[in-house]
């Protein structure tokens, strides 16, 4: 596969960082000072709404797109073009096509994932939904249309399975990635349903699941049996991807199609189960995970009640525990797949939100951690906004 241009190198940021926090009960913005030492929490926005994802458009640094629904009301998208001061609802939120009477059509339960498209494609966004669907907006999130053939493709629908085959909160399409060198080179992942790649701008996709393990010996060649939790692409080396999967931590170096289980190099008593995956903005050898207990009935909390992130600085050949500042015991944290991220400062800032409503930050790549906020609702997502 040929790539037309070199990727744009991610610049070291020096400005203010804001954290866009989606929770089960509303959205919040946590604004940092230029040193990232003091932070100010906004009032809740859309209090009571379920906010799965809230993302700043890095192309204009003004527009924020938010995926929302409530317990009663159907899914929608809210947009702000003034960094969250005012909001407007999308005129046409993501929705599957109406099927003829007598057939059973799919219904978007919630929008789960938002990705701004290529730097050269202003106003283009992708959205992943539950149940699994891929949608695109060409007008900054005002109107959304089904995108690509996968939503209606019988093979893809078979791989997607039924609602019963997905996560407890519904099966999801997530981790929509755009190669910074080539807007037609796309990836997405499905829980469940595996990782998929397109090289023709989304007209067609192919599974990219070689090397990934499955549970209980299910046939690894069938996409249905794969549950990627979070896939990230390295900004400065888009030929490298990292993945936190239900069955371990992986790295993929293209043009190879075979994922390598780098989680086997984690400490055995910790294991390599978790949800989020974070990659360094400028060094493709550096990545972070936040392991969770995947033993017995899969508690999915910090192993032993002792929270820790782990970092690799050699592309997964070895891992180092990072727990300085975290509670030493009795802290049964869960961090969801969209709830851990980095900024582009030097040293890199890391941020994570727990389902128990705490946001923790490190200003030095995870060496030291500090709690920024407590007592928020259950945190679903944390995204950095470099202002």
């Amino acid at each position: 596969m040929q790539r037309p241009t070199k990727p744009t190198l991610t610049q070291t940021a020096t400005g203010r960082v804001a954290l866009l926090v989606g929770t089960r009960k509303g959205a919040f913005i946590l604004r940092g000072d230029p040193t990232r030492r003091t932070w100010k929490l906004s009032a809740p926005m859309f209090l009571g709404h379920i906010i799965h994802h809230m993302v700043l458009d890095p192309r204009d640094r003004r527009t924020i797109v938010m995926a929302a629904r409530t317990g009663h009301l159907g899914p929608t998208i809210f947009r702000s073009t003034d960094l969250g001061k005012t909001w407007k609802e999308a005129r046409k939120p993501p929705a599957f096509p109406k099927v003829p009477d007598g057939q059973i059509g799919r219904v978007v339960d919630h929008v789960f994932w938002l990705t701004p498209c290529h730097a050269n494609e202003a106003n283009v966004w992708y959205a992943g939904t539950s149940p699994q669907g891929l949608f695109r907006s060409d007008d900054g999130g005002v109107t959304w249309e089904p995108f690509s053939s996968i939503n209606d493709d019988p093979q893809y629908q078979a791989w997607m399975g039924t609602v019963q085959d997905g996560t407890p909160d519904g099966p999801k399409l997530h981790s929509i990635l755009v190669d910074p060198r080539d807007r037609k080179h796309l990836y997405f992942a499905m829980s469940g349903g595996g990782v998929h790649e397109s090289t023709d701008g989304g007209k067609t996709f192919e599974p990219l699941i070689e090397g990934l393990d499955t549970v209980e010996g299910f046939d690894p060649s069938v996409a249905t049996f794969h549950d990627p939790h979070c896939v990230r692409l390295c900004a400065t080396n888009p030929d490298r991807l990292y993945q936190q999967n239900h069955c371990g931590i992986y790295r993929l170096d293209r043009p190879s199609n075979e994922w390598v289980r780098i989680g086997k190099n984690m400490a055995q008593e910790i294991g390599d189960i978790g949800f989020p995956m974070v990659v360094h903005p400028r060094d493709a050898d550096i990545a972070w995970v936040f392991p969770m207990d995947g033993t017995t009935v899969w508690p999915r909390v910090s192993p032993g009640g002792k929270p820790a992130a782990y970092v690799t600085k050699n592309a997964g050949r070895s891992w180092v525990r990072l727990d300085k500042g975290f509670p030493r015991a009795n802290s049964w944290w869960t961090v969801k797949r969209q709830a851990m991220t980095s900024d582009s400062h030097e040293p890199v800032g890391l941020y994570l939100g727990t389902t128990s409503g705490e946001i923790w930050a490190s200003r030095n790549g995870g060496t030291n951690w500090t709690c920024l906020v407590r007592n928020l609702p259950e945190i679903y997502s944390v995204e950095t906004a470099e202002l």
Binding site: H72, L73, E89, A90, V99, G105, V107
Partner: protein
């Protein structure tokens, strides 16, 4: 006819708890409300034209699931948000 609006939908109606609207069927009525309050209908009716799981609509005290049900000008319509969890 009078449509009673539950609190989760009053962000669309300018905080009004009742609005007057017309429609020969329930579907017509909800489309008319969506014209006046853009986005209103999709929050309570799916893309497959079904009333959403945690929404109930009563016409003169009788629950209706069928959007094609005919309405009379003096009907009282109640949109209710029900049992969505904590």
């Amino acid at each position: 006819m009078t449509v009673h609006i539950p609190s989760p939908l009053r962000s669309y109606t300018g905080k009004k708890s009742t609005v007057e609207a017309e429609g020969s069927t329930l579907d017509d009525l909800l489309r008319a409300l969506d014209q006046r309050y853009p986005g209103f209908r999709f929050r309570i009716v799916t893309e497959q034209e079904a009333i959403r799981q945690h929404i109930r609509i009563f016409v003169d005290g009788v629950q209706e699931r069928d959007l094609s049900v005919t309405l009379r000008p003096d009907d009282q319509i109640h949109i209710i948000c029900a049992l969505s969890g904590g």
